[in-house]
């Protein structure tokens, strides 16, 4: 017991020394999957974070910000080790990034122990922010993006839906959120789960064909969405009148344009589209494309961009101090992001944002998710339900 207190004290001192001693530079550890199957997530976030620093300068509250990028290769125990090293050796003020749910959960105990705020820029399982009081999120939660989809579907004459999700945390989250909300409105739902690593969707799509639903709700991690779309169309599901709906991952901006006409007409709900009509977004997209030719910012990028903003503004407020002060400063913060108005819920440390209903259309020769309806200020429904 005595030892435990000692460890706690040591960790606290460490966090203190991180801000008190290293006056000159404040270090931000950015841990991302830069190689492996989820590398594209890492690349988007890194590019956005660097863009933010390039735009806003690398000095905050009189101190220099140093970004340390580490590749966890998408492996959770590596994430944890890297986080630990960054905390212990580099004495970072904030850790950020975290491309997938397990990667965000693995270092959570460290955040608590060392009192280092952990800014989740990508992972989207609802429960993540409950893993540590030092976790704050600038991406989204799947239920947040999904429940509006269910409501929209119910209001627009869809009665029977088949859900098809990747079999892992976020997928199951999406399935539950949609099924709950849609069944609550009197709809009929059938669930299908596909393995996370899956080369061929055809057997699952065949099941969908056989079920003859009004709409197919789909969640697959961004990246394999394209494959899904193609097979959806190849199977003629679009022509047989099955609407494709889901959270925006499947029509990820990063690869949407490459999907071609097969993606046209897909209806998704999400917090960000590169086609979002606002001056902030136009500037963001343009700058992003200039800095990274051949890339279009997607919802991962905006999560990284806003994450950096949150870190900058938080540090400004605390005058460079980290730890508890920084996480407190981040709570309740609100600003206008490229995606629209957003804020950090002071209770849950999760993001509150508008969710947009979009449809894939061709704009100036390129495919975009064009927003046509807005549901304002959506909180994560899972945690909202708990607090009520």
């Amino acid at each position: 017991m005595l030892r435990r207190t000692f460890v706690g004290a040591a960790a606290a001192m460490l966090a203190l020394s991180g801000s008190a001693l290293a006056q000159e530079t404040l270090k931000v550890g950015l841990i991302l999957p830069m190689t492996g199957p989820f590398a594209s997530t890492g690349r988007q976030i890194e590019a956005a974070a660097k863009l933010y620093m390039q735009q806003k300068g690398d000095t905050v509250a009189g101190k220099k910000i140093q970004l340390i990028v580490k590749d966890d290769t998408g492996v959770a125990d590596v994430t944890k080790r890297l986080a630990q090293e960054l905390i212990v050796n580099d004495k970072i003020s904030v850790m950020a990034g975290f491309g997938l749910t397990p990667l965000a959960l693995a270092p959570a105990p460290l955040a608590t122990q060392a009192k280092v705020p952990q800014v989740v820029m990508a992972a989207a399982t609802a429960t993540i922010t409950e893993a540590s009081p030092f976790i704050v999120r600038t991406s989204f939660t799947l239920p947040q993006a999904t429940v509006p989809m269910a409501e929209w579907a119910a209001q627009n004459g869809i009665k029977k839906v088949v859900t098809l999700v990747s079999d892992y945390g976020p997928g199951i989250d999406a399935e539950k959120a949609f099924t709950g909300a849609f069944a609550g409105k009197g709809g009929q739902v059938e669930n299908l789960r596909v393995p996370l690593a899956n080369p061929d969707f055809s057997p699952f799509l065949q099941k969908v064909t056989d079920a003859k639903p009004d709409a197919l709700f789909v969640f697959v991690p961004s990246g394999i969405g394209a494959q899904f779309m193609k097979q959806f169309v190849e199977r003629g599901l679009d022509k047989s009148g099955v609407k494709l709906i889901g959270p925006g991952d499947v029509t990820d901006d990063d690869i949407l344009n490459g999907m071609g006409d097969v993606a046209l007409g897909a209806i998704t709900t999400q917090h960000y589209s590169a086609a979002h009509d606002s001056p902030e977004n136009k500037a963001f997209v343009e700058a992003f494309k200039r800095a990274n030719p051949n890339m279009r910012p997607n919802f991962m990028a905006v999560g990284g961009y806003d994450g950096m903003h949150l870190i900058y503004e938080g540090l400004k407020k605390t005058n460079g101090q980290g730890g508890q002060a920084l996480i407190d400063a981040m709570k309740g913060m609100s600003w206008t992001s490229p995606r629209g108005p957003i804020s950090i819920d002071p209770q849950t440390r999760d993001i509150v944002q508008n969710i947009y209903v979009r449809k894939v259309e061709r704009v100036n020769g390129e495919l975009y998710n064009v927003e046509f309806a807005t549901i304002a200020n959506v909180k994560d429904p899972v945690k909202a339900a708990k607090s009520n």
Partner: protein, 284 residues
């Protein structure tokens, strides 16, 4: 029902074209080439780059998707692979895994990590109904192309001089050499053709299997299953194994989605333990 069978056959055919080169290198040169998938990836990227950056029509890219990996294969065979024929399987495995790592990183560096997408010509999109079965046009195309390849390969192997020399070299390289057959040349040519076929498979499969830098690692296991289950002494063995695997995979996911992959791996182990020479090999 029959649609599932049809999809499985298309998938299996594709696997065969991807993996048959591996079967030949393994059977002929007794070389375990885990980097086989890298050649397939090369073919896929040739097609993707030609189509997306240079606007070459899909069909026109296919010959190049064969030729480019074949040339790469030829060069690598002459410079590196041939040094390793006499080594242990372990050395070969390590060497080819090293090549895979390099290929993955190199493609990632030059092409980016995202999925490469290709636009099929419109006449290959969609599906038609034949005798009450829903048939995907592109999958029919794959079956046709791969079926033609299988027949061609079988004819080359059994009817041509090259085929008989190849078979002689497989049976006993020393005797073949004694008969004045240039075994080394046959090895090189076969390796190149095998790599080229993999490339073609990669190009055809980009639409169905996806194409990104991790392709060689993702599908390596499938290729190995085809080869080890099918055996390496003939073309028909791996062919039947591919079809079986394709149909089992698709049907498994359709009927028992929660145990699909499980069944395939277990089956592989059972086959290997009971028939180490492969399911369709003649008993020796």
């Amino acid at each position: 029902m029959l649609t599932i069978l049809f999809d499985g056959i298309a998938y299996g055919m594709l696997l065969f074209v991807l993996a048959c080169g591996l079967a030949v290198t393994l059977g002929l040169m007794n070389f375990v080439n885990l980097a086989h998938g890298a050649f397939a990836m090369a073919g896929g990227y040739v097609t993707a780059v030609l189509m997306n950056r240079h606007g070459v029509p899909f069909l026109a890219t296919l010959p190049l998707a064969f030729i480019v990996p074949a040339l790469i294969g030829l060069v690598l065979e002459r410079t590196l692979y041939k040094r390793l024929y006499a080594r242990s399987h372990l050395d070969q495995v390590l060497f080819s895994i090293g090549l895979v790592f390099m290929a993955v990183a190199a493609i990632d560096y030059s092409m980016g990590s995202q999925q490469q997408l290709i636009q099929l010509p419109s006449w290959l999109q969609g599906r038609v109904e034949i005798l009450g079965i829903q048939v995907g046009l592109y999958r029919s195309f794959i079956i046709a192309v791969c079926g033609a390849l299988v027949v061609a390969l079988q004819l080359i192997l059994t009817k041509t001089r090259f085929g008989s020399r190849l078979r002689a070299a497989v049976d006993d390289p020393r005797v073949a050499r004694g008969l004045g057959i240039n075994v080394s040349l046959i090895f090189a040519a076969t390796f190149a053709v095998g790599s080229g076929l993999a490339g073609l498979g990669g190009a055809l499969g980009a639409e169905i299997l996806g194409l990104d830098p991790t392709f060689p690692l993702k599908f390596m296991i499938y290729f190995l299953i085809v080869v080890t289950v099918g055996g390496t002494t003939s073309i028909t063995g791996p062919f039947l194994a591919s079809l079986l695997l394709g149909i089992a995979d698709v049907a498994g996911k359709y009927y028992v989605p929660s145990v699909g992959a499980f069944v395939i791996y277990t089956l592989m182990i059972v086959v290997l333990v009971l028939r180490p020479q492969g399911l369709f090999d003649r008993a020796r």
